[in-house]
């Protein structure tokens, strides 16, 4: 009697490549690989032929050549004799600057609007709903162009601040809003400790960081003491002194003073000059992204079931403590990942700077540099790479965070 479980005829047949599931995946991948490589080589051959026909080559040497154009806003030293690479760096720093400012303001706006939209005050929650829906449903570009038009056409010229009875006046005698930008006070040092101003500010930052660290230690010590003895030592004057005294001492030592903007000739001088383009881009990005963040915050708080806060109330916690200890830690787990992807969106949207002439990475590296050198391929490649690295870095941070807060299950 023959058994039914006899294996079918041994040996490898070609048809197994298609009909046998053990080998089929291999076949599919091989075919896909060949197709992919064919497409790639087709594109590369096309590119080489086209470049050759135009008499161009593929070369990043232009990055070390003098750029020959000026950038009106720069965070590092730059002039028209600097290289294209330096110009790209200035642009990248400008992108990062507006992205950082935007993320900060958008978070503040978004969290405020999201919490207020949950308020039981009918008027406030409706007002916030209008803000959120209004900004979410209109293109960002329109907001940027609109705010820029307001900044340039709706604000007074510097000459309006002049004369016996000026038609415009500065806010608190310190901030001037003009159609050439906003002038705010700057902090200067009369007796700086270092030649390079950067190190002075670094010193200030370090002192601040150390103070904050000490304050945290004090709070920790107070908690330990409370757990041991039952009452919490009063620390607020200590905290305040440690926060204020060192930094004040340092500032006095370096002779810090406020440099107020004032009318000099046809324009304002002194202080810090924030260009209209930066302000318009910053405000529009923050207001737009803030509306999305508001929805995320609202959703996150709503996602924590009412039972959680009721349980906290039943334990006798007060509303503030409930929020701090029960709702927020859980809501943050829901809120942070989409929040970070909003930051990512904001950073990518900052490339709309082109609408207001703000000199970001796209305008320098992907704009003027390309126009002057005719190196579209290299320029766009570098620009894309910059955004890609930025995105991957931010999503990497998000993954680390997700792993650290995810529910620890066995």
């Amino acid at each position: 009697m023959t058994t039914m479980t006899d294996p079918p005829g041994q040996g490898f047949r070609l048809s197994q490549l298609i009909y046998d599931t053990r080998y089929r995946s291999l076949t599919i991948q091989m075919v896909a690989m060949i197709l992919l490589m064919l497409t790639f080589s087709w594109l590369v051959v096309n590119t080489i032929t086209n470049l050759h026909a135009l008499g161009k080559d593929f070369d990043f040497g232009f990055l070390t050549q003098p750029s020959g154009y000026d950038i009106n806003q720069r965070l590092v030293e730059y002039d028209s004799q600097s290289t294209h690479g330096r110009a790209a760096l200035v642009g990248i720093l400008n992108t990062l600057l507006v992205a950082f400012l935007g993320c900060a303001l958008a978070t503040v706006l978004g969290v405020t609007a999201g919490v207020l939209r949950l308020s039981n005050n009918w008027l406030v929650s409706r007002l916030m709903a209008v803000y959120v829906e209004g900004f979410r449903n209109v293109p960002l570009l329109l907001w940027i162009v609109l705010i820029f038009a307001l900044m340039t056409e709706g604000t007074p010229a510097p000459s309006a601040f002049r004369g016996e009875t000026p038609s415009s006046s500065m806010l608190f005698d310190a901030v001037a809003i003009t159609n050439r930008g906003v002038y705010i006070p700057a902090i200067h040092f009369a007796a700086p400790l270092f030649e390079n101003n950067f190190y002075n500010w670094l010193l200030v930052l370090i002192v601040l960081a150390v103070s904050i660290f000490v304050v945290k230690r004090i709070a920790h010590w107070a908690s330990v003491r409370q757990e041991a003895t039952g009452d919490r030592p009063t620390t607020w004057y200590l905290t305040l002194a440690i926060l204020v005294l060192p930094i004040a001492l340092l500032l006095v030592l370096m002779g810090a003073f406020l440099d107020l903007p004032s009318l000099q000739g046809f324009n304002f001088g002194g202080g810090v000059h924030l260009r209209g383009s930066l302000i318009a881009l910053w405000l529009a990005l923050s207001l737009y992204t803030g509306a999305f963040i508001a929805e995320i915050v609202r959703g996150g708080i709503l996602a924590i079931s009412a039972g959680q806060s009721e349980a906290a109330y039943a334990l006798g916690l007060r509303p503030g403590t409930t929020m701090k200890l029960v709702v927020l830690p859980q809501a943050l787990r829901v809120i942070i990942p989409p929040l970070i992807s909003q930051f990512l969106n904001l950073t990518k949207n900052s490339s709309l700077a082109i609408a207001v002439g703000y000199m970001d990475a796209r305008s320098t590296l992907g704009g003027i540099t390309i126009n002057q050198t005719g190196r579209e391929l290299e320029g766009m490649l570098l620009l894309g790479l910059f955004y890609l690295v930025l995105s991957l870095a931010i999503s990497g941070v998000m993954n680390v965070y997700n792993n650290s807060v995810k529910l620890k299950e066995r």
């Binding site: 896909a32 293109p139 570009l141 329109l142 082109i354 390309i370 579209e376």
Partner: protein
């Protein structure tokens, strides 16, 4: 029964007291206002601030908008009328710019006698999308959905009707190849045939065939070039074709990202991440500056078509992530059940997994579409005339130099109405879908 009788115990009430009205502070408007606006000092403060904000905005905007001037030929004329009516410092809108230029904002430089064509195409689009969005409509309408793209293309761009028909025939050919030859030569060969046969047809036969047919039977509309289109029509064309074309690609990418095959998986992941990591504006510049480098020398085609290709690739990465969410949200039992029934990969996807996963993803797809529709305004930077580009043109003209609020309010309102209603639809969908899953 208890032994204690009511009459023996003096303090037991025998009848219910009459129900009384709640106190005045606990009913009606007073309670509502008190509870919702004035319950705590903080609330009072917030209410006052909101009232102040609302008053400031409305007291400026309402008179400005309501008393606006609708009938003037230029901004100077508008200002002259204003001076006459309200004095020189009266602040009123000059809606005349809208009443004079609204057609341009909606259609760009499309020939005015042909405005009915894009409008009809839009109505057709709504009719075609209806059976997909509302499952209560008869399934026969899906035939309309299949035919709509070709008719819409013909309506908007004009030209001979035989062009779209001959292209559509290619799809029929592909379908016929699978349907009739499939049982005879096996599925794999039929699929290859269904790809190769229409390609040959399109490349070799379709062009001469359309030409021959149009000389025999010339039915057609006035052709309109892409560069004459603009305004909201352009935004809709790019947005809708981008989303529709990116759906199949997005689904394939999502499946690729879920796939166990190493190479397919990695290629999908890299494609999706690269596309999503770089802003749309960089991709648009790539389309306008670089696409010519990657194609055979001498290829040159319509800028609008290039933008549509780029937008399609761009949104397919986002759609892929949405669909992936839908695939992940599906219970694992569904996959296993399909496997247990002996369905192969494509059958299990087509018959079991995708219908459910796509249904879950529709709200996400609608949201992607809203985002894409808003992003179509970016084409202004590569020289297409979207609403914002047209507003720049209008602001640069001598008649309307210096006007901006009115134009931006109009454009913003149009976008708002469109996006807001789609957003509401997506919310409605989310609610109905959630109920089904409980």
């Amino acid at each position: 029964m208890s032994d204690t009788h009511a009459q023996t115990v003096a303090y037991v009430r025998e009848s219910m007291t009459e129900q009384r009205e709640p106190p005045l502070s606990e009913t009606g408007v007073y309670k509502w206002i008190h509870g919702n606006m004035l319950s705590t000092p903080l609330n009072v403060f917030l209410t006052l601030v909101s009232l102040w904000v609302i008053w400031t905005v409305l007291s400026h905007v309402l008179p400005w908008a309501v008393f606006g001037i609708w009938d003037a030929a230029s901004l100077t004329e508008c200002r002259a009328i204003r001076d006459e009516l309200y004095g020189a410092d009266g602040s009123v809108a000059c809606w005349a710019v809208i009443s004079e230029r609204w057609q341009q904002l909606l259609f760009g430089f499309y020939p005015p006698e042909g405005y009915w064509r894009p409008v009809l195409a839009f109505v057709l689009f709504l009719a075609a999308i209806a059976p997909i969005l509302f499952s209560s409509l008869p399934r026969k309408l899906l035939w309309l959905t299949l035919a709509a793209p070709f008719v819409m293309f013909w309506l908007i761009w004009g030209g001979t009707i035989w062009g779209p028909i001959c292209i559509a025939l290619g799809f029929v050919l592909g379908w016929a190849a699978i349907h009739y030859s499939g049982p005879r030569i096996g599925t794999l060969a039929a699929v290859i045939l269904a790809i190769v046969l229409p390609l040959i047809y399109w490349l070799v036969i379709a062009g001469p065939l359309a030409q021959a047919l149009s000389t025999v039977l010339p039915i057609g509309l006035n052709p309109v070039a892409s560069r004459e289109m603009g305004g909201f029509m352009l935004a809709l064309i790019i947005g809708i074709s981008g989303i529709v074309l990116s759906l199949p690609l997005g689904i394939v990418l999502a499946l690729g990202r879920q796939s166990d095959l190493f190479l397919i998986n990695k290629v999908s992941v890299i494609f999706i991440e690269v596309i999503r990591g770089v802003p749309l504006i960089v991709w648009l510049f790539t389309a306008s500056l670089l696409l010519n480098y990657f194609l055979p020398p001498g290829t040159n085609f319509d800028l609008m078509l290039r933008v549509i290709i780029m937008v399609t690739l761009f949104s397919s990465a986002y759609i892929a992530e949405v669909v992936r969410g839908g695939l992940a949200a599906l219970a694992k039992g569904q996959y296993e059940a399909a496997d247990a029934l002996g369905l192969d990969y494509w059958k299990s996807m087509r018959l079991v997994v995708l219908p459910q996963a796509l249904k879950i993803s529709i709200p996400g797809i609608v949201n992607t579409f809203i985002g894409l529709f808003k992003d179509t305004t970016l084409v202004v930077f590569i020289g297409l005339l979207d609403p914002i580009g047209l507003s720049n043109t209008i602001r640069a003209s001598t008649d309307w130099n210096g006007i901006y609020w009115e134009l931006f309010v109009f454009i913003g309102l149009c976008f708002f109405i469109f996006c807001f209603s789609m957003g509401r639809y997506s919310l409605f969908l989310e609610k109905t879908l959630r109920r089904e899953h409980r």
